[in-house]
Amino acid sequence: APCPQWPYCRKRCSYCSFNTYVVPAVDEAAVRACLVREARTLLRLSQVHSVTSVFFGGGTPSLASAGTVAAVLEAVAGAAHLPAGAEVTLEANPSSTSTRRLAGFRAAGVNRLSMGVQSLDDAELRMLGREHTAAQARKAVEAARELFPGRTSIDLIFGLPRQSLDAWAQQLEAALRLCDDHISLYQLTLERGTALAAQVRGGALPEPPQDLLADMYRTARHVLVAAGFRHYEVSNFARKGALSTHNLSYWRADQYIGVGPGAHGRFVPRAEGGCSREARVQTPEPGAWMQEVQSRGHGTRSRLVLNPLEQLQELLALGLRTDEGITQERWAHFSPQLSLQAVFGEPGEARALQHEGWLVLDSGGLRCSWAGLAVLDSLLPDLLWQLQRR
């Protein structure tokens, strides 16, 4: 599953800590050529036969031209089999998504759109440093739904400073009236180094209380489930089966190939004779990345072989984020000798957590209960410790 990155934005949002750059002008042709080249190189390196999904992230991918999207997809199709039905997602900003632009992307091969709405309240949008108004966001989502019916997703953030539970509940109602069949709801995380975090730390904005955040999350879960959504991952909801194939590949520890500055990947470099899954990162700074791609075909800054324990640790930490959890088969793929039962079925932390109602271990696999999902990070250290001992 290739994940091409378009690492440019028109401005940096107040909460953003991603690897993105605000530059006056982008040499699109050069960047495009490098994305194409690196995609080819890495796909060949992985010897992947068939691609299940492609995800254009960043930055603001909707700032790139449709031509770039088309070129990357072509490169992917050239280096591996890209089935007609494969999910191809583009992340978009309401301020760079006119119907015309969206149509261009669709023609280039995009068949799913993830719209960064973040909030339907203008004051909140300003606090977040977004470029658009709620009205613009609405229009953009409607345009997207026209072109990608049943395949449009919206992103929302909750837990902003000063946001009340009522205000959040109202937003949920508004979002439900607007959305398609997929919503991603993210609790605001104040990352060190961001403008918003500095404001909170300095006391200009209040830090939202823990219990309020818990209430907002609980409300969101109930409201969305009542509206027919399946809460299939900590922050992701889908109805009518509109789950994001690409994101599922992260949580199932499938292989994915990061392309572009700062992109992350997990795959086995078979063409080099590798037989272990590696954690790979591409060079973050676009200028340096382009030079590396031009000189040796890809700009991989670091690669780390993951030993079997580390692979299992990732599978555990990620798999439990989904409602399906980790299936017996998926576990067996990474741990042929020790089954889930062997590791977690014995008296120990997992059993205790089961008794307390946070976890379920059965013939289907290991997963969190409804309540357990909300406190997963309190469960994981214990489980990882148990896994390590075994």
Binding site: E314, E356, L373, V375
Partner: protein, 615 residues
Amino acid sequence: QEKLDMSTYPVESIRNFSIIAHVDHGKSTLADRLLEITGTISKTDRNKQVLDKLQVERERGITVKAQSASLFYNHEGINYLLNLIDTPGHVDFTYEVSRSLSACQGVILVVDANEGIQAQTVANFYLAFEAQLSIIPVINKIDLKNADPERVEKQIEKLFDIPADECIRISAKQGTNVEKVLQKIIEKIPPPQCNTADPLKALVFDSSFDHYRGVVANIALFGGEIAKGQKIVSAHTKKRYEVNEVGILTPNEQPTRKLYAGQVGYLIAGMKEVTEALIGDTLFLYKQPVEPLPGFKSVKPMVFAGMYPIDQTEYNNLKSALERLTLNDSSVTVHRDSSLALGAGWRLGFLGLLHMEVFNQRLEQEYNMSVILTAPTVPYKAVLSSPKLIKEYGKNQITIINPAQFPDKLSVSEYLEPTVLGTIVTPHEYIGKIITLCQDRRAVQKDMMYIDENRVILKYLFPLNEIVVDFYDALKSLSSGYASFDYEDAGYQSADLIKMDILLNGNPVEELATIIHNDKAHAAGKLLCERLKETIPRQLFEIAIQAAIGKKIIARETLKAYRKNVVAKCYGGDITRRMKLLKRQAEGKRLMRKIGNVEVPRDAFIRILKRETGK
């Protein structure tokens, strides 16, 4: 190297004296000037606190280890030997001060011309007075703008009954009138009353440890003479030694052929540990025992603190650092101790808070060790009434250092707590606040008197545990730094003591149990519960934090359960970072202490247990 011949200084030409003063009144500066004037050290700008050799002494401006220096001075044709016996400048070292003073016949009492009489001025004066020494009052820092020597002379007259015209006004910094001080020493301080013909009788008033030569003992001869090769005996330990070297301090060691009665210097005699050269001990010649000099006391610690390495892997390093540091400080008592939360460590006994702080600072500066110092505690006592316990301990009165040792009320007829008599000197505008502070600390007023129109002396009897933590800071704070404080041991008093337990979801946390006075239990319990609520991380269930006395709960806080604790985003780039954090947390599980089902990280214990650093 030619050894000095000390026989040219008969007893009549000897003067043994000490300089006593309140902190920062200029004791060490005066010593510097005296050393310069007598040619003992050459006059340079770099002579500052020459006798204070330890870094911590120079930084804090205090004297910790007493040094002596022998000065030679010619006055009206006669060569005099003036022995300056430096004293530790702080009340924690009262015993050392008194031993040093017993080697003297007079003192120079230095008082700051602006600050006037302060708490230690008073304390030191009484020590000298009780030892029946001649007292030469010296008013220092007359060069400064706010100096008011006349006012200070009146204070001295009123409080110490010394006529104002006996005071010498000086500036130690500039050297003004310092020569007059030397002359006064010769005129007013009597020579020692002793005889070289008598059998050897030497007082040990300090000791230090030299890696190559062993223990160096500071001695004052009260009779006889001492030389290399002689066999001597310690009155207290009864051990025998052969003298390797004797000499005087100028202020560096200068070997001499002999030392004679009335003289002061040092001795090296094959002692391996400073505990063999006990302060206040008497030395005499083998087969010629003498009546030991009075006033010898075994070290009695007043304040205890737990000392633990920051990490258990540092245990051995800390152990050897402690061994080396205590080589040179025989007044620190060391017991091994262990805490469920902090691992293996020690419980150290100090003479007082300053002693503890200086020790800690020396550990950091000289041995580069960072440690966890737990809140200071005091030794309580209990008079047992249970025959079983009396048999077990072998006596009917026990000392309790650790709350775990606290015997139950039913087995005890009386609990006792150590007390001190504290002296506070303050400008009168702070009297009200200070009285309130003292009452708050369960102190009983014993005396209150005006020194002059502006200042007051207050004497209060305090339970020691009420002042060991932060009394001094509170006093300084509410008097804008103008009040001064001094204290001395005042024995034990009966006290309504209880053991306060801390419970988490009903299970006791042993490390956090404290012994406390009943009156203070509620407030302390509430505070501790609140602090725990902030330090213990939230868990998947509610945690009841309680303070209890026996079965009775006296304070309670509730730590609510986590209802949401999961990171919002976890895609490509987030995963690596996430795994790092999770793996660290999984490792942390190893170090978690589990009280019932509540997980308490080591860090939380450290934050609760360690001493608040405020100074």
